[in-house]
Amino acid sequence: MPAKIRKIIVQLDETRIEMGRSISPPTRKALAMAVIENPFAGQYTENLDALIAIGEELGALLGQRCVEALGIEPGQAQSYGKAAIVGEAGELEHAAAILHPKLGAPLRIAVEKGAALVPSSKKRGGLGTAIDVPLGHKDAAFVRSHFDAMEARVADAPRANEIVVAVVVTDGGRPLPRVGGLQVHEIQGKDGLR
């Protein structure tokens, strides 16, 4: 059963100057969020398969919206992340059902590859709750220049019986990375770590 989507929000965050330095090309992050009805709001349910299927649907939809917003080829995506905010009548496990079993595979197709774990966060909250979506390089989690996060928020969501699902895709790392560690050009990209 497809998700009942009330809203989709897409944001593009482009950083051109950081600490007085010009960032060229600008670093860019795209955030896509869906506000959906929670089919299990208000009840403890053991089997959350309906939300797992919704996760698969939204991994594709939101991943594609991010790549479109960036105006890039899927293979040019560099890092990703995912998050969910469950409304007051839900439980954290509803977010887990959307995020973890099946959201990753279609998201990885939307960004062409993605050997690395998709970092995530989750919480419960009311309208306008913000969540920080953690980001990591899609091929090698240890690339230090790409450890980052993006704040996601919908002013009028989630209502008590809703869930906000967020996906972020970027085409670069932090604006002025200079704390060493594994570099992009050193990536082997097989084990998802390095």
């Binding site: 989750k122 920080d132 953690p134 450890f147 996060a149 200079r178 704390v179 060493g180």
Partner: protein, 213 residues
């Protein structure tokens, strides 16, 4: 170089979320250290000396958090880290915590790796279970006003893909960071989400001992 104004510790005990009451409550904790940002207001190209100077602080904070949670190191199953940089700083100032914060927690929890290699971003050859705390410490960071919240991700300390342990804790230090400060954060947990029922890789199924599975 390191001027600490405040240390904020938060520990919570979770019994249920309207499902079956947990036999052992889940403990989650976070510690935030508020310190002066030596680079506030200017572009400093070389952040590595400060990153190194933070190592003892990382070790101290990791131990304080464990002590505040009142459990032995062996009870810690999940971890994460984060940073909130005040408005006179830049996102990259938050990145100074990756090595000192991450390494400190992993060492506290029994990691027996090569510190130099880790700092340089290199891997190490491993077989069997070589000590504990094998997995990458997940993180978030942001620049924000005093009282900004940060959602700090938590994942299993030995295998990032253990599904029951994907979690996050919301951390906020009221009144911090001021414009010329940074809040560095560590987080730990003693178990899975209280009503985890998503199957996938279980903690008992860890077998590769590569920090992922």
């Amino acid at each position: 170089m390191i001027d600490i104004r405040r240390i904020f510790t938060h520990v919570e005990q979770i019994h249920h979320e309207f499902g079956p009451v947990a036999a052992t409550p889940l403990l989650r904790g976070a510690i935030g250290v508020v310190l002066t940002n030596p680079f506030a207001g200017r572009y400093e190209p070389d952040l590595l000396p400060m990153m190194n100077a933070l190592q003892p602080l990382g070790i101290d904070m990791a131990e304080r958090l464990r002590a505040a949670m009142g459990v032995p190191a062996q009870s810690i199953e999940g971890y994460g880290k984060g940073a909130i940089v005040g408005s006179a700083g830049e996102q990259e100032h938050g990145a100074m915590w990756h090595v000192p914060g991450g390494y400190a927690m992993r060492e506290l929890l029994g990691w027996k790796g090569d510190r130099q290699a880790y700092a340089q971003g290199q891997g190490e050859a491993k077989t069997g279970q070589p000590g504990n705390a094998l997995a990458i410490v997940p993180s978030t960071k942001k620049v924000g006003a005093p009282g900004t919240t940060l959602d700090v991700p938590l994942t299993h300390i030995n295998a990032s893909y253990v599904r029951s342990h994907f979690d996050a804790i919301e951390v906020r230090v009221s009144g911090a960071p001021l414009a010329d400060e940074i809040v560095f954060i560590l987080a730990m947990s003693t178990g899975p989400r209280v009503h985890a029922r998503m199957a996938g890789l279980a903690a008992t199924g860890i077998s590769q001992w590569d920090g992922l599975r």
